[in-house]
Symmetry: C2
Subunit: 224 residues, 2 copies
């Protein structure tokens, strides 16, 4: 089956590095979904404002490959343990389809048609969207779900030291989200490599940091 791109989502994530590994981890990140011309029909959204959350089905656009590997190494397991691809949400899958639930914050009427404003999207800027569905609590929410290694995900939180003079360089409305992103440890895998400096792009800024034990220290901020 050939999928049609119905929309694109515009976010503050210009690079893969630093994107939360699941949606909703950083609720402060705001994305805007702009429909392609053919799908720019206000009536296609009739009733959507009655929902607080939506599903997005989208393309892992930086992970499209011809071949596939039956196993992947999830970053949350340190990057050196192999798991079955269907037991993970890795982008490297036979069909590079992403699934994210986001919060519907509002609908804007713009020259590009109705734009859905959503919160918590863990998605690269400009990513193609294939489908948008309402989140239905009675069928989508499983309180009793059990979930392997992902259950322990909160253990990975870092303390963030963001010096005031560097934080002042960041536009105020982006600060909380950025700190949350950093506290979720954007590094590709877990090492206590205090000397290595990482660079992460967010909302037009380049943010540099180091991590030692459970403390992330921001070392520099530049406009990109």
């Amino acid at each position: 089956m050939e999928l049609k791109i119905i929309a694109r989502i515009y976010t503050d994530f210009d690079e893969k590095f630093g994107i939360p590994r699941q949606s909703g981890i950083c609720k402060g990140t705001v994305g805007r979904i702009v429909f392609e011309k053919e799908y720019r029909r206000p009536e296609a959204l009739r009733g959507i404002d009655g929902y607080s959350h939506l599903w997005l089905i989208w393309q892992f656009s930086e992970s499209v490959r011809d071949d596939w590997s039956p196993t992947v190494r999830p970053p949350r397991l340190g990057g050196n343990k192999r798991m079955g691809v269907f037991a993970t949400r890795s982008p490297f899958r036979p069909n590079p389809i992403g699934l994210s639930s986001v919060e519907l914050l509002g609908i804007e009427h713009t020259v590009e048609g109705e734009v859905l404003v959503v919160g918590g999207a863990d998605i690269l800027n400009g990513t193609p969207i294939y489908d948008i569905k309402p989140y239905l609590k009675f069928t989508d929410c499983h309180d009793d779900a059990m979930g392997g290694f992902a259950d322990g995900v909160l253990d990975y939180r870092l303390e963030v030291d963001f010096p005031n003079e560097l934080l002042a360089k960041i536009c105020e409305s982006k600060r909380d989200a950025l700190i949350t992103l950093l506290s979720n440890d954007p590094r590709p895998s877990y090492k206590n490599d205090g000397e290595q400096e990482y660079g992460m792009s967010y909302a037009g800024y380049e943010v540099r940091f180091k991590v030692e034990n459970k403390l992330l220290s921001v070392t520099g901020v530049d406009k990109r």
Copy 2:
């Protein structure tokens, strides 16, 4: 993007009529996911047994169309009110992709490779599967989600009168699920059309019934 079929799901639903409109409504329905030869690799499932629930991304194989309509008429609204397609889970969408959460009941080792046995699948027998992902409670479960008309879905339950002599014709392991399916009102829309007889196929049986007010009466059962 061209999607590859990675597996097919085999269920007791040989016809679209009678399939629950969302997954999990009838937990007693059991499906078996058989991988296509290319994807029949046991290591691709490594770790999946640590999860209680899975997401399936699949093709609405009976709803593939070249064109699309921005609005649809959800059966739960009586079939005469139009809603935006992106505000519904209707199969008639620009990309006919279905999304269902199912319970992982077990993994069978068979001559067709590892088979995932799942509960609650609202999916037609033989449906192509494009992706399988673990259900992650911390990111997929939104207790606080609000949801338009679908919130009232339980109001549509029917009482079921299944005469003993007819029930006896049904294999015992299929009875509970069938009664749950009937109680969820499989009719395409809501009418108090006491005279009309409907026929529904399930698990190799043809079940006939009528509905008057909130009572569904089974009128006949045949082996198909």
